[in-house]
């Protein structure tokens, strides 16, 4: 009998604890509205949850509003910018509450149709503090949430929030507290890291100047200014122009409002600071103008960078496939009249300019519609790749003289004028040379492009024109001094061999482009794309058997040569574009993983790359997969992260932009000694990588 009693006691304990935990669960369920939707606006879901955390002394209850937005729908920050309206809850029908305080998470900047707004996309949590009137009496939390969400249209939807609870009986819910903290970690708070905050207002120029100091060094800060109240909340503050000098930050920005006259003197404004993982909020009273000057981005220097970058683009690895096109123009310039040389080279230069303007136009459209932008992103489109593959195939075949044999005379003449020495031919050569050169990034070019993509549209066009000027410079030089053409190699029988080589190179490019398409299409589709022209060629040949018999032998020989040649080219290019065997252990790029690794004392090597990026492949073949870098990267204390930009990716574009980059390759090394990261140059070298790895450890 004695042994039975402890046994019963155990069971009693287990049952009691089960009942208790069950009641906990019931309570945890009690304090949420569950997901609320409005049938008029399905892309949005909201819920209101109490975490169960209570501050008895201050009669405060913590809770949050969670909003889930699908696709491109956005909602807004407390100061939405040039358009938008912040979400609002009318608690009028509630009982036993004093007030509800919103804590606004730091927003993102969005630009649609050139209108700048501040808000949120995806999932957002707004933590709230509810002040209860009488702690011991039940509370009815009854509010009407009016949520504005916009894409190109704006929709206002209402949601009824109804929760009843006894403050003293609330029990903390682990899951709700986790979500609350997730949201609260994004809310800027006053920080002792920021000091010496001063603001000044110049009413003549309607500009606000700001200066502050941070104990730690500034990395890549985003500064937002806003004010409360009917007048201040209608003011739109522009994106500030920043000047950072170590720990000191100077900024100027303009303030506009449709309310008659603007006077900010003596007004209190909030400054929100977002700098990598650091977010803070300070407030300051506006005084008289500060004697600071912020460089308005040195356009002159950037244009110079663009010219140099464009010029260097001529000798980047991307030039290889188009070298044939370029040299042909040069070689055939021999023995021509001065005027012809001049016009031909000018036509090539015009083609280069046209391509750069086309790219600028394409980027402008993307920018205005609020899409992600970057250098070489046309290679993220399978249609563009397919189009270029076709064009290079035609050019290559033309150079090898295949059309002369297989195509009907009409088409043959048409193509000949395109790929030949006519002015339109030169123009097209310039255009395609440029379009094919864009998967290469070059020194200086990255800086200039980053500047161009971040500024306004006229500046973007100016920079791209400068890039075109840089790339066309050799062409322009010859067109202005045609005598130079005489110094070029003389045409002769050797040219036929060179022509064959260039034609094969062009076909190799075509195969490389088709290989890129394997990211989008199954292999058999691509194979049939290659086979169709070959079958067509055989068909034409069959016709010619009955026509010109003397050509038959040549044709068969050529075809027999062509098929294995294509196979060989395909194997070589595929192997070249996937240089060596990459057996390094790459993990997908994530900010969380970087922080995790750095805090555990590891070194992180980040490689943002794309299949179509030739500079990336060159870096891989020349540095990353060669000694001594290869062995260093294999060390156990090194974490390798790779971001793949082959296809459009918002996440990776955002990562690149957070480092002021708009293109690939991008490499950066993080470590205990370099938590902010040491960005590496576009073209890697052993020394640069090794010293960055050493410095960061």
């Amino acid at each position: 009998m004695r042994t039975v009693i402890p046994f019963r006691r155990t069971w009693l304990l287990i049952i009691a604890s089960l009942v208790l935990s069950l009641s906990l669960c019931i309570h945890a369920q009690d304090v949420t509205t569950g997901w609320l939707t409005n049938p008029n606006h399905p892309p949005v879901k909201v819920r209101f949850i109490l975490t169960g955390q209570v501050d008895k002394e201050n009669r405060e209850v913590e809770g949050f509003l969670e909003v889930k937005l699908e696709n491109d729908w956005k909602t807004y920050w407390r100061s939405p910018g040039e358009a938008g309206i912040s979400p609002e809850i009318d608690w009028g029908k509630s009982n036993n509450i004093d007030n509800v305080k919103w804590h606004w998470p730091s927003p993102d900047r969005f630009s649609i149709l050139g209108i700048e707004t501040l808000g949120y996309k995806g999932n957002v949590i707004f933590p709230m503090t509810i002040k209860v009137k009488n702690y011991d009496r039940p509370v009815d939390l009854h509010g009407k949430l009016t949520l504005s969400t916009c894409t190109t249209v704006c929709v206002l939807t209402d949601y009824q929030i109804k929760l009843s609870f006894d403050t003293s009986k609330l029990i903390p819910s682990v899951e709700a507290i986790h979500l609350y903290n997730l949201g609260y970690s994004q809310v800027p708070k006053a920080s002792s890291d920021i000091s010496d905050v001063r603001m000044g207002w110049n009413s003549d120029t309607e500009t606000l100047s700001l200066t502050m100091t941070r104990n730690n060094k500034w990395i890549n800060p985003v500064i937002l200014i806003d004010g409360e109240g009917e007048v201040l909340s209608d003011i739109v503050f522009s994106k500030p122009k920043l000047h950072i000098d170590g720990n000191k930050l100077n900024a100027t920005l303009s303030a506009t409002s449709w309310i008659s006259t603007l006077d900010l003197l003596g007004k209190q404004l909030q400054i929100t600071i977002i700098d990598h993982n650091f977010i803070a909020e300070q407030s300051a009273i506006v005084g008289s103008p500060l004697p600071i000057q912020v460089e308005h981005g040195s356009i002159g220097r950037m244009i110079l960078f663009a010219i140099v970058g464009g010029l260097i683009l001529n000798i980047m690895p991307c030039v290889l496939p188009v070298l044939g096109m370029k040299l042909r123009t040069v070689i055939f310039a021999q023995g021509l009249e001065k005027r012809q040389i001049r016009l031909q080279f000018l036509a090539s230069a015009a083609g280069i300019f046209t391509s750069f303007w086309l790219i600028a136009l394409f980027l402008t459209v993307l920018k205005v519609t609020g899409s992600a932008i970057g250098w070489g992103i046309q290679f993220q489109s399978p249609y563009f790749i397919g189009f270029m593959a076709l064009i290079t195939m035609l050019f290559g075949a033309n150079m090898l003289g295949i059309f002369e044999i297989f195509l009907p005379t009409k088409a043959n003449t048409w193509l000949a004028t395109r790929g030949d020495n006519s002015y339109s031919g030169n123009f097209l050569q310039g255009m395609f040379a440029t379009l094919l050169a864009t998967p290469c990034s070059a020194p200086f070019l990255g800086t200039a492009v980053a500047f161009a993509l971040a500024t306004n549209i006229p500046t973007l066009f100016a920079i791209f024109t400068a890039l075109g000027f840089g790339m066309a410079l050799p062409w322009l030089t010859i067109s202005f001094i045609p005598r130079l053409a005489n110094a070029l190699p003389k045409p002769g029988p050797w040219m036929n061999k060179v022509k064959l080589l260039f034609g094969l190179m062009m076909l190799a490019t075509s195969v490389w482009l088709l290989f890129l398409l394997t990211n989008y299409l199954p292999v058999y589709v691509i194979l049939s794309i290659i086979l169709i022209p070959i079958i067509f060629a055989i068909y034409r040949m069959k016709l010619s058997i009955f026509g010109k018999k003397n050509k038959l032998q040549n044709n068969v020989c050529l075809l027999l040569l062509l098929v294995p040649a294509l196979v060989i080219i395909a194997t070589i290019t595929v192997n070249l574009s996937k240089p060596l065997r990459d057996d390094l252990h790459w993990e997908p790029l994530s900010l969380k993983r970087i922080n995790e690794a750095v805090t555990t004392g590891k070194t992180v090597f980040v490689d943002v790359t794309a299949d179509w990026c030739i500079t990336c492949s060159a870096n891989k073949a020349r540095v990353i997969l060669q000694e001594p870098v290869y062995s260093s990267l294999k060390q156990p204390n090194i974490v390798l992260l790779r971001g793949d930009w082959t296809k459009p990716s918002d996440k990776i574009t955002a990562y690149l932009q957070s480092h002021d980059r708009y293109g690939v390759p991008f490499n950066i090394v993080y470590g205990p000694e370099a938590p902010i990261g040491i960005p590496l140059p576009t073209i890697l070298s052993d020394e640069v990588v090794m010293s960055a790895l050493k410095k960061s450890q």
Binding site: S148, C150, L156, W258, I259
Partner: protein
């Protein structure tokens, strides 16, 4: 060459068809709840205190009702068009959740808009009409809703719609 042109033509017509279908279905989605045909019985007053009788106004010629908001970004592009058409057609604009009367008046003056505007600050009128998205342009004739568009509209598009209802 001819087949090439034909295929281009095909391609373009497919794109146009997709565009039409998607925009029509989007319009349909936003207008499911809108009262069909007849106008809701409601008396509305403009900022200047003038009573507006939409039925009487639209008796023999089409009029435009424009639902918008000061904070809606696409409205910033559409409002100038509506203000321009105001010279040749009767227009009543209804501003949703855009603040006090004073603020609305200041907004219209600052932008030099002469639109007859009703301040629907609590969204009551738009709810009665079943309108939740801005900008929305309705064309009314003989006291009945003839056409409705949501989102961006060009001056030409608006004129075309007005001619269709004539």
């Amino acid at each position: 060459m001819r087949t090439k042109r034909l295929s281009w033509f095909k391609e373009i017509s497919i794109i146009v068809m997709i565009f039409i279908v998607s925009s029509v279905s989007l319009d349909w989605w936003h207008f499911r709840n809108m009262p069909q045909g007849a106008l809701p019985e409601i008396s509305i007053k403009t900022l200047s205190g003038q009573e507006v009788d939409l039925k009487a106004m639209s008796e023999d010629k089409p009029i435009i009702i424009y639902f918008w908001a000061t904070w809606c970004s696409t409205c910033k592009l559409v409002t100038p068009t509506i203000n321009w058409i105001d010279n040749s057609y009767e227009v009543a604009s209804i501003a949703i959740n855009s603040g006090s009367d004073k603020r609305m008046k200041a907004y219209l003056t600052a932008h030099d808009y002469q639109l007859k505007t009703v301040n629907d600050n609590k969204g009551h009128i738009s709810k009665l009409w079943g309108i939740s998205a801005t900008p929305t342009v309705l064309i009314i004739k003989g006291g009945e809703i003839q056409s409705a568009t949501v989102g961006f509209i060009t001056p030409l598009g608006l004129l075309a719609r007005l001619w269709l209802t004539k």
